[in-house]
């Protein structure tokens, strides 16, 4: 068990920078997810931790020991690959034995025939088999031990790969999109199982995914990466409720967060397409982006232009428990019509048909304001305003 510390990691492939100085502290026993769209550098970062790739600059420390230039096998980490990377010619049992035999047996002992001549060989092999059996028991794959990977289903291969990683009790697990090859239902199931496994083992997990649902459901903390930068590192709740960067806000949440171009006037008041926010910006004058989650908008029949966005309903997305109303906001100040999504209860949504006008009122939570640099602006409550609508 160990903490992992990354300091100013940089990496380029040829002329293209893929990591631009990543600092990251992963606590012992934590489930940390590296989340980001494909090509953001998250897999490269994981492989740098593993030692499969060398960084161009910066340090990797595992359990306080700097491991730059240390071979992957000497870092005491285990990795679960996207394709599982099980050895197809070996049974599940032999697959799981491999990391132990390579670590615990000498070269001579790994040679066919000759190995029987090495003293103590039988005992060591027995220890290894016992370890494999114990792990298989935890993962409930004992009946599969004598099969080859080709005879297993996707979920079974996934478990076998986990077993191979677990069997040598590493300091930390590295997982590179391990669920992406499974079907949707199994993925949801394995999410829960992985989280339980993490709790039971108490080992550090570093998990790479582009799927926000996986990140939000399993992690202790999430590191959102984009374009080779670490944009935000916080708990899943914080990432969702309090994104520090417009790109994080846009990446997390489905349907995507509504973004509306707005501006700040001389007094620090924020307006976006007529909608007035009640709190004041720390700066005056300038263009901003106002971002509102669909669940914070509510369709109402009557509202003043200052407290709601007036839209034409173009689509109703019925998810059963909720209905998402898609509206289009047209304005002379916009280069093209803006699509706004609001969440409504089915009863409320029933009042609107496609083509109807609707007012989406900012009813719950807070609108978030991002400056031109895409960083979050902290708004202050406007004490003088008598109107108490939270916005």
């Amino acid at each position: 068990m160990a903490s992992i510390t990354l300091s100013t990691i940089t990496k380029s492939f040829g002329e293209t920078p893929v990591l631009r100085g990543i600092d990251l502290d992963i606590a012992d026993g934590e489930f940390l997810t590296l989340l980001g769209p494909s090509g953001c550098g998250k897999s490269t970062l994981l492989r740098i931790i593993a030692g499969l790739e060398g960084q161009d600059g910066g340090d990797v420390a595992i359990g306080g020991r700097v491991v730059n230039g240390v071979r992957p096998s000497a870092r005491d980490l285990a990795m679960v690959f996207q394709s599982y990377a099980l050895y197809p010619h070996l049974t599940v049992e032999r697959n799981m034995m491999t990391p132990l035999t390579l670590r615990d047996l000498g070269l001579l002992e790994r040679l066919p025939l000759l190995r029987h001549l090495v003293p103590g060989h039988r005992g060591r092999m027995n220890d290894i088999k016992v370890a494999v059996r114990e792990t298989a028991e935890i993962l409930k794959i004992e009946p599969l031990l004598q099969r080859k990977p080709g005879q297993l289903s996707g979920g079974q291969r996934q478990r076998a790969a986990l077993g191979r990683a677990m069997v040598r009790k590493p300091a930390a697990f590295l997982m590179d999109e391990p669920l992406s090859n499974l079907d949707a239902a199994l993925r949801v199931h394995m999410r829960a199982e992985l989280a339980e496994l993490h709790r039971a083992l108490g080992t550090t997990f570093v998990y790479v995914t582009h799927d926000q649902a996986e990140a939000l459901t399993m992690s202790s903390r999430v590191a959102v990466m984009m374009e080779g930068e670490l944009l935000q590192l916080s708990t899943p709740e914080e990432i969702y409720d309090n994104p520090e960067d417009l790109r994080v806000a846009e990446f997390i949440g489905s349907p995507k967060i509504n973004t509306i171009p707005g501006e700040i006037d001389g007094a620090g008041r924020v307006t976006a397409q007529g909608l007035r926010l009640q709190r004041l910006a720390p700066v005056t004058d300038g263009k901003v982006t106002v971002a509102i989650r669909p669940e914070h908008l509510e369709p109402v029949e009557h509202a003043t232009p200052e407290e709601a966005l007036g839209v034409t309903v173009v689509h109703k997305e019925n998810l059963g428990a909720d209905v998402y109303l898609h509206g289009v906001l047209e304005s002379a100040s916009l280069p093209e019509p803006l699509r706004i999504v609001a969440r409504a209860l089915p009863e409320a949504a029933a009042r609107y048909g496609v083509g109807d006008w609707a007012a989406f009122r900012l009813s719950r939570g807070e609108a978030m304001v991002f400056g031109a640099d895409r960083r979050r602006m902290r708004l202050a409550p406007a004490a003088a305003e008598p109107l108490a609508a939270r916005a």
Partner: protein, 312 residues
């Protein structure tokens, strides 16, 4: 109007008919013919023939001439197949592991596959000429290098002259084998290169994470097992080709297949006996034995491929 299904059926027969006819006439009938002829004393140009039963087969298995044929063919195949396989695999591994010029080596090693073997065998004969050949010239030029003289064979050759190669029955089959390997290994290399690129990189990374520290560990754990199907295929195709070697022997020894028939391989035997000496019955019986041997071997090896392929 006929339905498209009926039309497809009719077209199906029409389309396979020419192929079926040619397969029968060019591949099946000759085998049957050879089987029949092998029981006769037929000669081309003779009006009739007599049935001689298994006499021809008895001769194939008892005469010392054909004993030499079996020996030469077996030795040729038994050496060319493993050596050209090892060299092909070695070259492929080295080429993929070097950072530069890999493509250049690949091109060079593949050249012998493209060149007419007969022409290149004739060139080798020149190169191996005892007095004016470049091979002995190069060998002689190394005689002053003391470490090389520690090799007894080389030391002796420096004192007493280098071998006649083709004219010496101790070396003749060896030289034929050498040229066979020279020609075959580039082909095997290319097959292994293709096999190597199809091994998922993640397997090597998994091996690295599992603690495979040395190249040998990675080779044992990933490369060699993953190349299994390629290897069986390379063995099959090299063996089939090696069994049919002819050009090299004809180029070196147009008459007699080398000093005391040391390079008397099966194809040469069929050609000499059946075509040149017009002992068609005897030639046919060699054909049948030879064919049975190749087909059984191919079948066994193909079984091997299927078994190996199914673990993926």
């Amino acid at each position: 109007m006929a339905t498209s299904e009926a039309a497809a059926k009719k077209a199906g027969y029409a389309f396979v008919a020419p192929a079926l006819f040619l397969m029968a006439v060019i591949l099946i009938v000759p085998i049957l013919l050879a089987a029949g002829l092998s029981l006769t004393n037929y000669s081309l140009g003779n009006p009739g023939f007599e049935w001689v039963g298994a006499d021809n087969y008895e001769r194939v298995f008892t005469r010392s001439k054909f004993e030499k044929m079996i020996y030469a063919t077996t030795v040729y195949v038994a050496v060319v197949v493993p050596v050209s396989l090892a060299l092909g695999l070695g070259a492929a591994l080295l080429i993929t592991s070097v950072r530069r010029f890999g493509d250049l080596y690949k091109t060079i090693y593949f050249l012998p596959v493209m060149a007419a073997l007969l022409a290149m065998a004739i060139v080798w004969e020149f190169a191996l000429h005892p007095t004016i050949g470049i091979v002995n010239e190069i060998l002689e030029s190394g005689c002053w290098i003391t470490p090389l003289r520690w090799w007894p064979w080389y030391d002796a050759a420096c004192e007493e002259g280098f071998p006649l190669w083709l004219g010496d029955k101790r070396y003749s089959l060896g030289v034929v084998i050498f040229v066979g390997i020279w020609q075959a290994f580039g082909f095997n290399m290319v097959l292994f290169l293709a096999g190597l690129t199809s091994i998922p990189r993640e397997l090597y990374q998994a091996a690295e994470m599992d603690g495979a520290k040395t190249g040998w560990d990675r080779f044992r754990l990933v490369t060699w097992p993953m190349l299994g199907p390629t290897t069986v295929f390379v063995i099959t195709i090299t063996a089939i080709r090696a069994f049919q070697v002819f050009d090299i022997i004809e180029a070196f020894y147009p008459i007699g297949a080398g000093p005391s028939r040391s390079a008397f391989v099966a194809m040469f035997a069929i050609f000499e006996t059946g075509v040149q000496q017009n002992l068609v019955g005897l030639g046919a019986s060699i054909t049948i034995v030879f064919l049975a041997f190749i087909m059984v071997l191919t079948l066994i090896l193909q079984r091997g491929v299927e078994k190996k392929v199914h673990y993926a």
